[in-house]
Point group: C2
Chain length 338, copies 2
DNA sequence: ATGAAAGCGCTAACAC
DNA sequence: GTGTTAGCGCTTTCAT
């Protein structure tokens, strides 16, 4: 791990320097109250003098607790996942845990590989994005009884715990919103990815109940860029020239759709209404400002961390009893694009 | 045959199952070519049968290589850092390394704490944001001879290696750009943070050379939000009603400044020119589109990873000889706001 | 309150 | 090629 270094001191050295046994140093560090103030001071001084840094790898091996939490997100370039990791890392860090981060690239088997790697690293807990995973992953994690929090979607049957919101309900809610505003010819621009698919499904279900079909653009390969949204809208207009409203599976696509409208001289929202998802800063900043579905990513990360800490017995006292399913909900933010 | 073992199997168990010694299993895993195809197969089969997952903690302790890289950024909610981490994690992951992530919250001593924690975790290498660190950090890392890459700024004297761009030169370049377009009354809206300060300094230096001063808004506390930019512009206009141009230390502030202009009926760029920094998606999407300074965050992360892998001897062959200072440069992207 | 003994699960020499 | 012998640096019991 460390390249040939001058002299890294071990606990043994601290013990000698302080005139105590190794265990005493260990205790002074991990259970300070189980050591007399005098020895504690002596040990602290020795540590200071030697610039001793405890080897947590050795500690983890012996104690079987790593104080590492693994988290797997599809990608960090989507700022909603980045925000969630921000909240997660902050809360975990405050509790003395470290965050090990992996990116699945939206691939379930890349996720499975990371899970295996993290299990090998002996993480104390795991955060997984979504509720759909490789079967081996579900099974192994359940057998292990490892604290796991699935985020960013909803299910009745989590591996262990889920903290998120229902993508299906979001789709339905947007459908309801658009129906209520009198739209009938509705399109969807989404990504080739599970949770986007669920939002599409929600939209479809609700509209079907009214006997309305949905025009769907070819799903884009994530991460989405603005141009994808523009292309999507063009595709939809070719399919359905009378299009009255579009639900875009994320704000980036939404902004792209707005661009394409402008390019074609279509008035938003008069000619066509646009709804996004996730409420990025860009949604409020673009013109016309984008109506969207807001979810609080940082808070989601924070809550996920708290649930994990609770399961690990290091939770801040404030938090209540553990619940296996925590639905943080969502909110439609109405702006100029509808 | 055997029901899922409640016990986690160790290398010993695999060895027994395969009828070989522990080392052989170890070798089959880490140096497959040093083991006969037959035993290799036997070992693989045993591993499969037992669902064995190697304990990398134990491995790290014994081998003194953790295959973990620590990275510290101020925060992940700024998508430029998130993008860099994305590139970093992707490249490291492909080489079999795991990323341990910490957030300094822009505080040098929080960074120092994380560095210590990471050293205790025996990371094989470290990524640090910026070139200004606690003295203890510089000294300790240098003594350790730990592979370190500083990113997101430039220096002649890195702890070990630096991969980034010069924030100072960016400030100067923006000043030059604005001067060349005939602006003389120039303002700056920045954050209360080192690298933003360097961009301000660059701007100031270059303008001073022409005998021009800079109107500076009160630095905002990061992470910046759009409203900060609006407030900043208001403050500048109070200071200097004749303001002709503003350099905003990041695109979020820039968009905020654009908002405030619109609110006041100021024409951009006719009445006032606005330049941002970092080229977020929002810069291209807002109206008028924001002229900005582009840096490629993902690529920066990727390069940092490659440098680290090189120092660790696991670099993809393609990459050339190590250089301690890698300047990736920047580019002014001209849009409608100037 | 402190210490002695016994590992945690793995890898690195060095033999054979 | 494969096995034997020693640890890696720390945290547990369990005594004292």
């Amino acid at each position: 791990m460390n390249p040939p270094s001058p002299q890294i001191s071990r606990m043994e050295d601290v013990a000698r320097e302080a005139g105590v046994a190794r265990v005493t140093v260990s205790r002074a560090l991990s259970h300070p109250d189980k050591v007399s103030p005098a020895t504690r001071a002596a040990v602290r001084a020795a540590i200071e003098r030697l610039g001793y840094v405890p080897n947590l790898t050795a500690g983890s091996l012996a104690s079987k607790r790593s104080r590492i939490i693994g988290a797997i997100v599809p990608t960090l370039c989507n700022s909603w996942f980045a925000d969630a990791m921000d909240g997660l890392a902050e809360t975990l860090g405050a509790a003395g845990y470290q965050l090990m981060l992996g990116q699945s690239g939206y691939h379930i088997d890349q996720e499975a590989g990371l899970v295996e790697a993290f299990l090998g690293r002996k993480v104390d807990g795991l955060i997984l994005t979504g509720v759909v995973h490789a079967p081996s992953v579900r099974e192994r994690l359940r057998r292990n009884r490892l604290p796991v929090v699935e985020i960013w979607d909803m299910t009745d049957d989590p591996i262990d715990t889920v903290v998120g919101f229902s993508n299906l309900l979001i789709g339905e809610a947007v459908a309801g919103y658009l129906l209520q505003r009198g739209h009938r010819r509705i399109g969807f621009i989404g990504a080739n990815e599970i949770r986007s698919g669920k939002r599409a499904q929600g939209l479809r279900q609700r509209l079907q109940a009214e006997g309305i079909g949905v025009a769907e653009a070819t799903p884009v390969t994530p991460p989405s860029v603005i141009e994808d949204g523009a292309r999507g809208l063009a595709e939809l207009l070719a399919l359905e020239p009378q299009l009255q409203a579009v639900f875009c599976s994320n704000d980036t696509l939404g902004v792209g759709a707005l661009f394409e409208c402008r390019r074609r001289g279509l008035q938003v929202p008069q000619d066509i209404a646009v709804v996004g998802f996730s409420d990025l800063a860009i949604a409020a900043a673009c013109v016309p400002a984008l109506t969207t579905v807001q979810v609080n990513s940082r808070e989601l990360g924070r809550r996920a961390a708290l649930v994990l800490l609770q399961r690990l017995g290091s939770a801040p006292a404030e938090e209540a009893a553990p619940s296996r399913v925590i639905d943080l909900g969502f909110q439609i933010i109405e702006r100029e694009s509808t």
